[in-house]
């Protein structure tokens, strides 16, 4: 029995429970919902297939996008002299939605975290340095106001400042521990306006 194909429903529950914030109970409920709802399984599998085929990372800023360069890097109306550094794509989206920033972005794909074995080489830091060396006026560090986010910004500041670029950190209007992704637009705009040089 053990080498036969797994039960499809069980496999679905298993894969759903790999998602963040989804326990096995929720996964089971979701799986049954997908099976019961007309057309849902088909729609989901179509869009998952499309994502698998067509969505990748922008080779300039590492934003998750279906085109390379991503729409933000390709936008001619955006300023080229300021880059805003974020941890992940949802942070980029939150800042972009707030509408207060019209420069370019750089997604690190995480934060420094020795506990998780993540060091400088595991983030898109070399690529950021290359962009700075290419000529930038300012780098805004917009990592989350968590211990790891702060430490990552501190690390980048030590690395970038000797290159002669202005390095700023968004203001702590965003309360400690709160993540950008869940912060409202006006707070994000204020945190950007009140950024300080570090």
């Amino acid at each position: 029995m053990s080498d036969s194909a797994p039960d499809p429903l069980e496999a679905l529950v298993h894969h759903l429970s790999r998602l963040p914030g989804i326990g096995s109970k929720t996964a089971t409920r979701l799986a049954y919902h997908i099976v019961r709802t007309d057309g849902l399984a088909g729609d989901l599998s179509d869009s998952l297939a499309a994502v698998r085929e067509g969505v990748g990372r922008c080779s300039i800023c590492f934003n998750v996008a279906s085109s390379d360069p991503c729409p933000i890097c390709a936008d001619p109306k955006r300023g080229d002299d300021i880059v805003c550094v974020v941890e992940r794509t949802p942070d980029l989206q939150a800042i972009d939605r707030a509408g207060a920033f019209r420069g370019r972005f750089h997604v690190l794909e995480g934060t420094l975290s020795p506990l998780d074995g993540i060091g400088p080489d595991d983030l898109r830091i070399k690529e950021l340095i290359a962009r700075v060396a290419g000529g930038l006026d300012e780098v805004i560090l917009a990592t989350n106001p968590t211990v790891e986010g702060d430490a990552t910004s501190l690390y980048l500041a030590r690395l970038l400042k000797p290159l002669g670029v202005k390095v700023t950190r968004i203001a702590r209007g965003v309360s400690v521990g709160a993540e950008l992704e869940y912060t409202d637009a006006s707070t994000i705009s204020r945190a950007l306006q009140e950024r300080r040089e570090i």
Binding site: T146, V147, E148, A151, L154, R158
Partner: protein, 332 residues
């Protein structure tokens, strides 16, 4: 109730032991009135850990929980706060400092995270035998020192405010007071810097951490920082942990818990719920009467468990009682 108030199980039983054999979950529910509104609190313990809910919803974090549910408990293991290992004393200090200033919990958490991260950095470089990236070490040290200095500052600030309150309570319930009681904070920052305020504490801690660098790299973990600090209670200039009798240790520990309530009431206007686990049998009648009048004056809600009701020295009209027999509660 101890579990609801502290999120720790009574007498330091390990979590999973509290779940009945064969059951999936152990849960405790309570209702309390805060700001005139009844609130339902529930804690459930599963094999995965502790879950807590206020009015059926998960609070955003522990600060929300402890802001609503204020309780102080005196349990037998509290005696070890005076004469036991330093981690119990740090725990008392951090919990009590939080009662005084709820933002302390966030600071303490920040310190813990920075400490864990730096420990991981030291451990990995030792294990793999490769030198630590100096910039990495520098940034974690920076986070550690900033948060650590706040921790030290708030702890000593708490002790400064706590000492006079403690003395007041202690005098009342100690049979033979042998001079003035004082708290002394001992650790990574010297007395002068402690008195000088946050920027001096930060500078002193920074120097200590820098000086420990070689030792830390060799041992693979953090040796400098407030996670190893301690404090001691001195009476008449002598540390109580080394010369105090069992009775003195007991009344000092009890005074600390009552002092914690008095201070909380002074700061917030609300007296925490007080849980007292069989104490009266060990105080003499005179001191016991004093203890009860102190609690009555505080207008605190107090829950006492005792095997000898006569020891309470309370008028029959001053309390309600229940009997506990083989795990069931019945009105007296």
């Amino acid at each position: 109730m101890y579990l609801l108030g502290t999120l720790k199980s009574f007498r330091r039983a390990r979590g999973p032991d509290m779940i009945l054999k064969g059951a999936e979950v152990a849960s405790v529910k309570g209702r309390l009135v805060a700001g005139g509104l009844p609130r339902d609190c529930a804690v459930s313990l599963t094999k995965k850990g502790l879950q807590f809910k206020i009015d059926g919803k998960s609070p955003r974090g522990l600060p929300d929980w402890f802001a609503l549910i204020k309780a102080v408990a005196f349990v037998p293991s509290d005696l070890r706060m005076v004469d036991g290992p330093p981690d119990l004393r740090r725990e008392f200090l951090d919990r009590a400092a939080f009662t005084l200033d709820p933002t302390f919990l966030g600071i303490a958490r920040e310190y813990r995270v920075a400490l864990k991260q730096k420990n991981a950095l030291l451990r990995d470089s030792k294990r793999m035998g490769r030198p630590i990236d100096p910039t990495m070490l520098e940034i974690w040290n920076d986070k550690l020192v900033r948060a650590g200095a706040q921790v030290v500052h708030r702890r000593t600030e708490f002790l400064r405010q706590f000492a006079p309150v403690f003395r007041e309570v202690h005098k009342g319930i100690t049979a033979a007071a042998k001079g003035r009681a004082e708290f002394r904070y001992r650790g990574c920052v010297g007395t002068e810097a402690l008195a000088d305020g946050i920027s001096s504490i930060e500078a002193a801690l920074g120097t200590k951490v820098a000086a420990a660098a070689a030792q830390e790299a060799r041992r693979g973990f953090c040796v400098a920082g407030p996670h190893r600090d301690d404090w001691e209670l001195r009476v008449g200039g002598e540390p109580l942990r080394s010369f105090g009798s069992q009775g003195q240790v007991r009344s000092a520990a009890l005074s600390m818990r009552i002092g914690q309530m008095v201070l909380a009431k002074r700061v917030s206007g609300v007296c925490p719920l007080f849980l007292l686990d069989d104490v009266s049998s060990e105080l003499d009648p005179h001191r016991n009467a004093h203890l009860m009048s102190l609690l009555l004056d505080l207008e605190a809600q107090v829950l006492i468990t005792t095997t000898h009701r006569d020891n309470l020295r309370l008028d029959a009209g001053a309390y309600k009682s229940w009997n506990v027999r083989t795990g069931t509660l019945s009105p007296d």
